[in-house]
Symmetry: C2
């Protein structure tokens, strides 16, 4: 069987195309969707993430501003900044770049973001509305996966989906999406995690597998059934002396052994990865429409 | 195999015993946990439910007041009442008896309850916190099931649980509880629903089954594996000419065919049913402690 490669870049381009029409009609009304990225401290990886987000926003006709705060900022200073951003008419989406320095209460800070500007979809109100089946902002990575499945016409209704990993960012919202009676959804969903005794027992039965565990190449060809659709959320660095950088990026799926057995696969890189920022843009544009 | 009967009444009595100590120590501080039940219209079944809730609260040393509103109340009248109750120091829990008359926006009205007094656990903030793994108020029926499993030492960690039914009141919060790394939880969870092609394919693999579908006796002995633990959330009326009332109550599980095959079963009535009001009492007492 030839394994179809589900390219996030292609889907991402398609979505940005649709968004560009909305962005230009908002512009006609004098509205430019605006993202505030709050960056505390100087973690180089966080810096890179925030920069790449800004770049995508600006190249798509949106506004983006990064608020850099020193690593020793107090909780109150951060809460004050967020309150200003909650009230700012130029800002439609607020992103708190994680991880925050340890002396800060991440939960309290994330929860202080106005749910109507919570474009990450991490606020309990947004997670709860999603679980209820009436989502407002959906977390970006799971929503990006839904868009990939939709774009490539992967049937989910009545299918058995196995999700590996119970993170708040991917696994749990992914469950909440696929179990609903949505266009992409209505699946029988099984959630596996570190407490699951034999993950392969479940993955061998799955029509669709979403691997979001952060363990390099853990899902191998002998753990899937013929024709399964595989979604790889992992991005892991593994040592590679043949590479200039000394490492290479691999997913949670061992692509070599699943190619030819799976019906489709999101590659790493270039699969789910590019969708996350695109869905952040999507949520921010949606917020600009809702708040106008 | 002898099927152990998991008696909700026994568990309920045990929990009320623990609560009575907290209630009397709150009383020493001049605090009486108070529930406001809001009843719109004169649906007789709703009347019965609200009355039985009041009775349980009063017989356990708590305060309960029913706010009866005419069926043609406006949304604003209801929102005003809820605002008063949100601000009342005598009220720690607010219950909006469902269903509401059709001209009212149930979602808007439920969401106007202060999440800190949402003892039903239906507010998106509470559902979202539950999904995140840091619950405040947990919906009463799923929480009651957790208490039954805990009381009878039914191992859930590493077990495969199949939940049938994706309601916001039972199925989805049940999933959110059992998938977490909690004392009662850490299960591999599969959610089945009307979109599942062959429910028995999944139930035959399950160590624990939670049936919450509202279809009389749908889960039969040939759909389970030997030794499964069965939780029956259904309460269905079926015609019965031999009964004085002309009907009898049955669950979603066909008890006759599972007895002797299942390791344990919650009966109907007397299983999950009695737990719901007990957990409402539990949440209200908890709220009185948190709000003091």
């Amino acid at each position: 069987m030839e394994t179809k490669i589900l390219k996030g870049k292609t889907v991402s381009k398609h979505i940005k195309g649709n968004l560009s029409k909305i962005i230009s009609s908002l512009k006609d009304e004098g509205i430019i969707p605006g993202l505030a990225a709050v960056l505390v401290g100087d973690d180089p990886a966080s810096q890179v993430y925030v920069n790449s987000k800004s770049k995508v926003f600006e190249s798509n006709g949106c506004y983006s501003k990064t608020y850099k705060m020193p690593a020793n900022s107090s909780e109150q200073e951060l809460l004050n900044l967020i309150e200003d951003l909650n009230n700012s008419s130029k800002i439609h989406g607020i992103l708190i770049q994680l991880p925050l320095p340890k002396h800060l209460d991440s939960k309290k800070i994330l929860n202080s973001v106005d749910p109507m500007k919570d474009v990450d979809g991490f606020h309990p109100v947004n997670l709860g509305s999603l679980l209820e089946g009436s989502p407002n902002f959906i977390p970006c990575t799971p929503n990006g996966i839904i868009e990939i499945l939709d774009y490539y016409n992967i049937e989910t209704s009545g299918k058995h989906v196995v999700i590996i990993g119970r993170s708040n960012i991917v696994g749990k919202p992914m469950f909440a999406l696929l179990a609903q009676k949505f266009k992409v959804g209505n699946s029988t969903v099984t959630m596996c995690h570190t407490g699951t005794k034999d993950i392969s027992y479940f993955t061998k039965q799955a029509d669709i597998i979403v691997a979001a565990v952060g363990v390099p190449e853990m899902l191998k060809g002998d753990m899937i059934k013929n024709g399964a659709c595989l979604v790889d959320v992992g991005i892991n660095r593994v040592e590679d002396n043949n590479s200039e950088k000394g490492y290479r990026l691999v997913g949670d799926i061992h692509s070599e052994s699943v190619l030819g057995k799976a019906s489709s696969l999101t590659p790493v890189p270039g699969g789910v990865g590019p969708m996350t920022i695109t869905m952040l843009l999507y949520n921010t544009v949606k917020s600009a429409q809702l708040l106008k």
